[in-house]
């Protein structure tokens, strides 16, 4: 194991999340052992007990900030990381947990927990970039594991990752899919949603539901007008934008525009 200390050190951190995005690393069945040769997996509690303390060359951060404790912990993670890459909708936008941002979190606590007094939580779920500087954001709920390999590879050799910010529509065209909105009148967020999934939902006869959050320069009001023509009412429109990237600016604003009763 000579020279091991020279390999970059990788750490994987979890905040409020479902574990799915860090699981994507273990789902790289064909690449994980090669990756483990290229880097020292220095901190990854989901996968290993071993822990190398100190500084990390690359930190992958999953999850959103929902507790006072985590708001402090992320500062420590940033201090100990040369490059900090955030992965997944929770880390890039606050995730589904951000639905609380538009409601009364005390009421939520009462609904779920018998003893709300045992529960400590913040009123909001916020992306990592609200708390510390981040070096790269990889979108998705969950992330695409092939994009994760691309991002890690790019950082290891010092180039810019190729993760296009165009819409899911472009991916449908590249794949040769018939447009589900044109052909089947299916409501689809593809025109405003960030690429990365490979146009999955339209490939399975359903409209995109926005897992990767807003694309660059989205025109959500124009899409909503079309969706209204297809028969979606205001409440359904408000909900459509308010799921796994509810707190991402373009989706939040569009949801609020249609939200008449404040229910999101």
């Amino acid at each position: 194991m000579t020279g091991r200390h020279k390999r970059p050190r990788l750490a994987v951190w979890k905040f409020a999340s479902c574990d799915g995005c860090q699981l994507s690393l273990l789902d790289c069945e064909d690449e994980i052992l090669a990756l483990a040769e290229a880097v020292d997996i220095a901190y990854f509690p989901e996968a290993t007990r071993s822990e190398i303390s100190g500084h990390y060359d690359i930190s992958l951060v999953e999850g959103s900030i929902t507790t006072a404790h985590d708001a402090v912990r992320i500062q420590e993670v940033r201090r100990r990381s040369t490059k900090l890459i955030v992965i997944g909708a929770c880390a890039t936008s606050g995730g589904i947990q951000a639905l609380r941002n538009f409601s009364d979190v005390k009421e939520y606590t009462r609904i779920v927990y018998a003893r709300p007094d045992y529960i400590e939580t913040l009123a909001t779920s916020t992306p990592i970039s609200d708390h510390v500087r981040v070096d790269f954001e990889l979108r998705g709920c969950p992330i695409n594991k092939h994009q994760l390999v691309e991002v890690l590879g790019a950082f290891l050799v010092g180039r810019r990752p190729a993760t296009p910010a165009h819409s899911v529509c472009v991916e449908c065209k590249l794949k040769g899919n018939a447009c589900v909105m044109v052909a089947h009148d299916a409501p689809c967020l593809g025109p405003v949603t960030h690429a990365g999934c490979g146009a999955l939902c339209p490939s399975y006869n359903r409209g995109c539901y926005g897992c990767f959050g807003p694309k660059e320069t989205p025109n959500a009001p124009a899409l909503s007008a079309k969706l209204s023509e297809l028969g979606m009412d205001q409440r359904a429109l408000a909900r459509l934008y308010s799921t796994f990237n509810a707190n991402a600016d373009a989706f939040r604003q569009e949801s609020e525009r249609h939200d008449q009763d404040g229910q999101g």
């Binding site: 290993t48 927990y113 045992y118 939902c201 359903r206």
Partner: protein, 429 residues
């Protein structure tokens, strides 16, 4: 003897939590599994959503077993509407569940649990000395993920499940490449059962109350009565009458117990296997026996063999479903929303997963209740620690701490599901 041992993060579990073992005068007095995962409010998020949104929302509870959440949700919601699926669609749901059992079980067997037996910090470290073994595990896990990819659209948070069926049903001919991979996987799964049987296990048993689904003909995934080895035999509709969730301090998860006696119970592979051995395929039964298992398994350290047997069964069953598959006329049953309340329990890789929903007449969710397997097993994990760890107190400190961790990992706990931070405190007074 006065001593304190601490492990800040329990590794190789999904999520984070804390463990405190209190020892007085050489006797384990208590063990508390404390879950500090930031609270996640799924049951509240579901209120006010349309019932059709539930499968996509509940999937986000867990990245490791999203199919389980989707399956319990769609069955509960279909029960409200009195919908029954065609045999073809029902078989596709079994196939999807097979994919999740394979990827989840194999991840635990090879990457999370095996390192405890072979003495490594993790699967990647283990691969340096046992490269072929780990590669076999990764490829077997990949086959599970290939089922999820093919039928679900992706491994994590599949997109093809809907209330009433699937958005798209595959064509018969599309299965061919997957079937070829599954034939390889059957051999690999069989080899996994044999290998797991050669590991060394602490001789520890407890007289658990096992709780699992039981079906007339099948090893249970989506349907069946909720039964126990002590005479329980109920429909999921009566789950709340027999089980209750208790909120303990220092935890963002809820503990489940029997409502009448307050007793703990066990769900998951050990319970499923012991209550349904006769429903396993002949191949899986034979492999189990050859690996040294009896029809009932009360040693939780041996759960690694049981998971391997269930993996073999899932591969076998996936092949059966694919061979018998006939393309359905429609990929889903259309549903007109109605007011009502409905429940369902299905078998997540980690055990019984109960959902209950109440709907308004326009299909809006008025109330949702979700009881994940890890909350149901928490009391049992603590009892295992109290009962088993006493016999290990003469171990050196690091080995004892490791044994405590292994005892928790026997359960493949999904702390993200149960809600997170596993910290181990051993308090020797």
């Amino acid at each position: 003897m006065t001593k304190t041992v601490k492990v800040d993060v329990l590794a190789r579990v999904e999520g984070e939590g804390g463990l405190k073992v209190t020892i007085r005068d050489g006797v384990v007095r208590s063990a508390e599994l404390n879950i500090f995962e930031p609270p996640r409010f799924f049951e509240a998020f579901l209120r006010g959503r349309d019932f059709s949104e539930a499968p996509d929302i509940v999937a986000r509870i867990c990245g490791i077993c999203p199919v389980a959440y989707q399956m319990s949700a769609v069955h509960a919601l279909e029960n409200i509407h009195g919908v029954t699926l065609s045999p073809q669609l029902r078989a596709l749901r079994r196939l999807l569940y097979c994919g999740e059992w394979i990827e989840s079980h194999v991840l635990h067997i090879y990457m999370l649990h095996a390192p405890d037996f072979l003495g490594y910090a993790g699967g990647v470290e283990m691969a340096r000395d046992h490269g072929d073994l780990v590669r076999q595990g990764l490829q077997l896990k990949k086959v599970g993920n290939e089922i999820l990819n093919f039928l679900g659209g992706r491994e994590i948070h599949p997109i093809n499940v809907r209330v009433g069926g699937f958005h798209r049903a595959p064509r018969k001919k599309e299965f061919a490449p997957l079937a070829e991979r599954l034939k390889w996987a059957r051999d690999a799964a069989l080899a996994t059962v044999h290998w797991a049987g050669t590991l060394e296990f602490p001789e520890r048993e407890r007289d658990y109350t096992f709780v699992a689904l039981r079906h007339d003909q099948e090893y249970p995934f989506n349907e069946g009565r909720i039964v126990s080895n002590r005479g329980l035999d109920i429909s999921a509709d009566d789950y709340d009458k027999h089980f209750e969730e208790i909120h303990v301090p220092q935890s963002t998860a809820l503990h489940s117990r029997f409502r009448d006696t307050g007793a703990a119970y066990l769900v998951g592979p050990l319970a499923r296997y012991s209550l349904n051995f006769d429903r396993l395929s002949p191949l899986a039964q034979e492999a189990a026996r050859a690996a040294g298992l009896e029809r009932t398994c009360r040693n939780p350290y041996r759960s690694i063999i049981v998971r391997a047997v269930e993996t073999l069964y899932a591969v076998d069953e996936a092949l059966r479903v694919i061979e018998a598959y006939e393309e359905p006329d429609r990929s889903f049953v259309a549903i007109e929303p109605r007011k009502g309340e409905g429940c369902a329990a299905t078998e997540a890789p980690r055990g019984l997963l109960y959902h209950r929903y109440r709907l308004e007449k326009d299909g809006t969710i008025a109330e949702a209740q979700i009881v994940p397997p890890t909350s149901q097993n928490q009391a049992s994990v603590e009892e295992d620690l109290v009962e088993f760890i006493g016999g290990f107190l003469d171990l050196p400190e690091e080995a004892l701490r490791h044994r405590c961790e292994q005892t928790v990992r026997n359960y493949d706990p999904c702390i993200s599901c149960a809600t997170h931070f596993l910290r181990l405190d051993i308090d020797r007074g």
